[in-house]
Amino acid sequence: MSVTPERAAALLQGKRIVVAKPGLDGHDIGAKVIALALRNAGAEVIYTGLRKSPEHIARVAVDEGVDAVGLSVLSGSHRELVRQLLDELKRLDAADIKVFVGGTIPADDFAELASLGVRGVYTSDQSLAEVVESLARELT
């Protein structure tokens, strides 16, 4: 079986993306699956590993000059953590880095996250091809 959603192949060629696990949530398989899918779609992916502070993630994003940061949160702390990351990116004069969120995110929170500046929210019922295509649209 192919490990690349075929219609998504090469859509993210040349893009650099940080995939990060902020806070204490240790459920990392979603983040890793997304990281593998983005890499298979041509992106250069930097995966942070677990338990990173928003400050650390923002610093990595700036140092690596990435196009986007994808946060994965399943513990219900996404609102606080997203806000902290966006503030930190602003503080580092890097508000142009686009932020995406995935995990256990209740639909009721989508609008609030969008209003904070999140460019896309992804949940487990979406296909990887949809996620890659959506990211590709946002990053061009």
Binding site: M1, V3, P5, I29, S53, G76, P106
Partner: protein, 538 residues
Amino acid sequence: MNAPESRRLASPQLTQISAAGIDVPVKAGAEAVDPYRIGEPGAYPFTRGIFPDGFRGRLWTIRQYSGFGTAEESNERYRFLLDQGQTGLSVALDLPTQCGYDPIDPIARPEIGKVGVSLSNLGEAEVLFNGLDLAAISTSFTINGTAAIIYAMYLAVADKRGVPRAKLTGTIQNDILKEYVARGTWIFPVRPSMRLIADTILFSNDATPRFNPISIAGAHVRDAGATAAEEMAYTLANGLAYVEELRRRGGDVEKFAKRLSFFFYVHMDFFDEVAKFRAGRRLWAQLMKERYGVSDPKAQHFRFGVVCGGSSLVAAQPYNNIVRVAVETMAAVMGGAQSIFTCAFDEAFQIPTEFSAEIAVRTQQMIAYESGIARSVDPLGGSYFVEHHTDRMQESIEGVMREIDDYGGVIKAIEDGWLQMRLAERALERKLRIDSGETVVVGQNHFRRDDQRNEIGEVFHLDPTVAGRVLEKYQRVRDTRSAVAVDASLARLAQAAANDGENLMPYLIDCCHAYATVGEMVATLKKEWGEFQEPVRL
């Protein structure tokens, strides 16, 4: 949200490969059954269950995972669940407690009370168990990195209440190996963590002989992407690693093996699940007898609890999850589980409401008392197909265990990140099979209605004042306890931690009695042992 690929009009075909990758014959015959290999219920090799009378002697424990917010709110939910006929408590702890941070730590703040109750010191534990009879209920804690500390805290509560330690029943999960692979609440490096686990088991065998000091868990690797066979294989491999560590520490396998217990997920492929439990139970008994010469049947017993639901729950059309959980519960009963946790149908989204939590308990009660499937022990035993499938499952499990051995054992596989990488690849495959529609998920990738929102009725809202109240109580304990007693108990803990042969449990219990906090005890141990360095391999 809905790509054209996920709208399917034609009904999918039934495949001949099970979810675990086992080729399923359309018809199995008498040649599939070897009576010697199957044995009798309650007799070696225990394919048909560890008790001769199955559930007739004793029903499985109905044990719902629960806990959120403050100790006061969780205590109230526990009383509600016990009033509904639940027979054991299962305590969910918040992430700061699980990872060893006090609530005031900046990394802890956003997580206080979110996925479980905040339990930073003995004062909180006293509130959590207020009014509950510790000698009568069995309490299970899903706790790993800080398991020794939470166990010490439970003993300290019992001490203060005058409940003899020997009367306590319950379980701490205390399985750190799978945390490195899938669940992520590790704290210390692998080797000192193994020592801490051996300390708890050896201490518990004497002090709390009715308590399960470990529940070796496959559930989390399963939810992360492992197949049923891999779930069982990783769990047995981890179990053997603990057995080796305990023997190295001078433990007697005939004694400690009696208190080892196991924990799994049940997903939707019914016969995979039944076969997984029957095969795992047989294989463990064989390993104990043949590899370690264990002769006491109780030390060959493979006792396990399960969760029905988890990642097999689907966000689309959430009421369908009630049916999924019922099917999975039947598989757990047919597989001979000792305790069952049924997820609530809305658990794919949120902490269950009282409404959904009650349906989950009722599901077990209907299966136990209305369906009649629990009357006869191992009613599927001797079925041509089930015995055939159990044998194939066992071969599959043994194959995965051999691969781990060939790599150099489970500890090396974890320290190198090999197992983690393997699991991530498996998860990607599983996701792509769902995306392509090859794996059918009703209501999501097949038989989907695009005009529906995922309505779940009542929504659970965590009280926004939780964090504030937790911090206030934490400060009050810090202000009123004896700083001298705390410092002295922590200093003795540090000294004991530096000496490999010392059992840390008595020192941790002393710290708890002095109202030292989880964060303080963990910081003390980190100073001696350092922290796990996650191998980030992708």
